[in-house]
């Protein structure tokens, strides 16, 4: 029993170690390191493609992490670091694509779909209202009376 508790204790202790890659040197200034981490989260790993470079263990991701830290030490702004990367690998490296001509459909399509949905709802509502409120024409009244009469005869 005691042994099991010890195993569980160490398993629980272990989980926190997987949070961030600790393979390379972090920046000594915590604020700068936080900025670097924030930038790295926005950069896509080129090898594994659906991970950010923070989450990736690939050699190239590691090299890029080192470069990000170097550029921050060199005094680059966050945007300059991202630009450095897009100059080499294109918008592709950004996990969040920028808002520009090529991506305008991507960004606006949810709004567009929402708008289309609203138009459909409004039109349906109007059709329903029109259907209920349209009064019967004289001819239709006559036909109803006729049908009712027929029923009465039977």
């Amino acid at each position: 029993m005691n042994k099991i508790m010890i195993v569980i204790f160490w398993l629980l202790m272990g989980t926190s170690a997987f949070a961030v890659g600790v393979d390379e040197k972090r920046l000594s200034d915590p604020a700068e390191e936080a900025r670097a981490q924030e930038i790295m989260k926005q950069l896509r790993c080129l090898v594994c493609q659906n991970q950010s470079i923070v989450d990736s263990d690939a050699g190239l991701a590691k090299d890029i992490r080192i470069i990000v830290r170097e550029r921050i030490l060199a005094g680059d702004t966050d945007q300059q670091v991202l630009t450095f990367m897009t100059e080499r690998y294109g918008d592709w490296v950004l996990l969040k694509p920028p808002f520009d001509g090529a991506t305008i459909i991507l960004w606006l399509s949810p709004l567009l779909l929402l708008g289309v949905g609203f138009i459909i709802i409004i039109r349906n509502q109007r059709n329903r209202k029109m259907a209920t409120s349209a009064p019967l024409s004289d001819e239709e009244q006559k036909r109803i009376a006729q049908l009712l009469n027929e029923n009465g005869d039977n």
């Binding site: 190239l60 090299d63 080499r88 690998y89």
Partner: protein, 175 residues
């Protein structure tokens, strides 16, 4: 009224076409940022030494078309590609090799055993120059003319890729 009945079908068609086109793209392919740009500034040492082996100027001073091939002895697809690089050398293409993060003795053994298709080979020991070139997978091959990158291919080049991808570009730039 008749048109309205066809509306769902039309939407279906549009979505089908969009999916057909979208899903047949290769998501692993990252377009190069450098097409028709001058080659990045760099300087690489020779394999297993400190002396300068290959620089931007070397490539700029080339007359005609040259190929730059990033490879490594630890990279399995590079072995697949290698015989075709030998073939290209035989056909008279000038290929520069960049050994990416490779040990000098491993690079040398690779070239000794597999043959050396390169006019000259340099070593990118820390992988920085590969990043400057926007390289992300190995092997990668660039077509360069007058110091300008005209095309890049990620992954091994074989007869098929060369015929379909490289030949049209080589023909258009040699005019």
């Amino acid at each position: 009224m008749k048109l309205k009945a066809f509306f769902p079908f039309l939407i279906f068609c549009v979505i089908s076409i969009a999916l057909y086109v979208g899903l047949s793209l290769n998501p692993g392919e990252i377009p190069s940022e450098f097409i028709d740009d001058p080659i990045p500034e760099f300087s690489l040492p020779v394999v297993g030494g400190e002396e300068v082996g290959l620089t931007t100027a070397d490539l700029k001073n080339e007359e005609g078309v040259v190929l730059v091939n990033f490879f490594a002895s630890w990279c399995a697809p590079c072995y697949v590609e290698h015989p075709f690089l030998m073939e290209l050398q035989k056909r008279g293409y000038k290929i520069y090799g960049v050994a990416y993060k490779d040990k000098a003795h491993a690079t040398n053994r690779f070239l000794k055993e597999q043959g050396n298709p390169y006019f000259d080979t340099a070593a990118d020991n820390d992988g920085r120059v590969a990043i400057e070139w926007g390289v992300y997978g190995f092997p990668e091959t660039f077509i360069i003319k007058d110091g300008v990158i005209r095309h890049k291919h990620a992954g091994p080049i074989m007869e098929m890729q060369f015929e379909d991808e490289f030949m049209p570009i080589l023909e258009s730039i040699s005019k």
